[in-house]
Symmetry: C2
Subunit: 210 residues, 2 copies
DNA sequence: GCATTTCTGTACTGTATGATACAAAATACG
DNA sequence: CGTATTTTGTATCATACAGTACAGAAATGC
């Protein structure tokens, strides 16, 4: 389930005309869940109105068109789901334990209770990034953000002597994130949770071994 | 470019009525190139007829409907592109060299001359595997085939003492394939070739180190 | 109270899409 | 040569789609 994180919109000052009868963030979360499962192209506006409970004009007034709604949904994915993956990384525990928690969060989310959703960045965004430049930039930005966060943790780990000195934090972070992306794809292919956990453990062992 | 590998269809015995004026394999390759770039949902039949040079009825008579054509195209991708990745693995060279050749082939293909295509299995198939069970099975099968081939090479490597005895060939293969999938996604995000090569090198170093 | 502003809901528009009907063309069989 | 069989090309169908016009509803400001 998506956490209901309030954003700037929900604390805006009272506006002039008829007030909105919906919460924009909740609607965005509902749209995200639909996009997450079916991707951008396969999701119709009828499905979006059904999922959000809004009618078309309200959706368009709030978010623009379908493209903009998708971009907003992915941005929210990065800000909520993606960032939730990174929180365990910052826990004050040894690197191996932090990485295990990170992967545990990834596996739990990609193998959701509502079927194997995978990861929106790994599984659905790349398909449309091939022909929509705006989405390609979105994908590149999301990857850079996750790479950076993992890299930062690895730099700290190396300073603490938890990583071999010859290991490059940047490329190692990209390998860890790469494993994360592959776990999401495997989840979407229907791989059992146990298998994903085993792969994650092997990645942690390989990265933290010396 | 796709290699023009003949299949059973092109050597079929002379049939009864008016002969076909097209090569089914060439048409399938053309359809695959379009699907590869834009995915299943975003590719229209108009684009497919333009790419293949066939008109709609010929396409439908040869392949069924759009779904079946996509499945056939992905199957051909696995049989040609995917298998081409695996050939370098079987070269009679040490494991590290074989893996380097494998990744070199992956990087060269995912960063094609016609823009960063990525990999059809990694970048476009997962999007529709989320809601089309047939495509989910196709994805799972493709992953299993690549995993198996890499695993087989790792088993041989361990027998030759090129791999630590404590390394599990199966999960190690899944990590290598996972890195491959992530390279394809990064290629589609626009990552420069140099960066992908660096990640691949780090993966090889990590897997073959002891 | 009245004008102004903003949102909601229905109904609609034009278009793009996947799929087919049908007749003409091209081959094999007898 | 005539019939059966398969492919080709055009023209078309019904539907699904993204997006919007418009009228009514609910709030604010004066």
């Amino acid at each position: 389930m998506l956490p209901s994180v309030p954003s700037a919109a929900s604390v805006a000052p009272r506006r002039r005309g008829r007030p909105r009868q919906f919460d924009a963030d909740a609607a965005l979360d509902a749209a995200l869940r639909t996009f997450w499962r079916k991707g951008f192209q396969a999701t119709s506006l009828d499905e979006l109105t059904a999922a959000t409970g809004l009618n078309r004009p309200s959706l368009y007034a709030a978010f623009g068109n379908k493209d903009a709604l998708y971009a907003a949904a992915i941005a929210r994915y990065v800000a909520t789901i993606g960032r939730a993956f990174l929180i365990p990384l910052a826990a004050p525990v040894p690197l191996a334990a932090a990485l295990r928690r990170f992967f545990a969060a990834v596996v739990a989310t990609t193998c959701g209770a509502h079927g194997p959703l995978g990861c929106a960045i790994a599984c659905t965004l790349p398909a449309d990034a091939g022909h929509l430049p705006a989405l390609q930039r979105l994908l590149a930005g999301a990857l850079a953000e996750i790479d950076g966060a993992v890299q930062q943790r690895l730099v700290a780990a190396r300073a603490a002597g938890e990583l071999p000195r010859h290991a490059d934090p940047r490329v190692t972070a990209q390998l860890v994130v790469g494993t994360m992306l592959s776990l999401a794809i495997r989840a979407r292919a229907g791989a059992p949770r146990r298998e994903l956990t085993r792969i994650a453990s092997a990645c942690v062992a390989l990265v933290t071994s010396r």
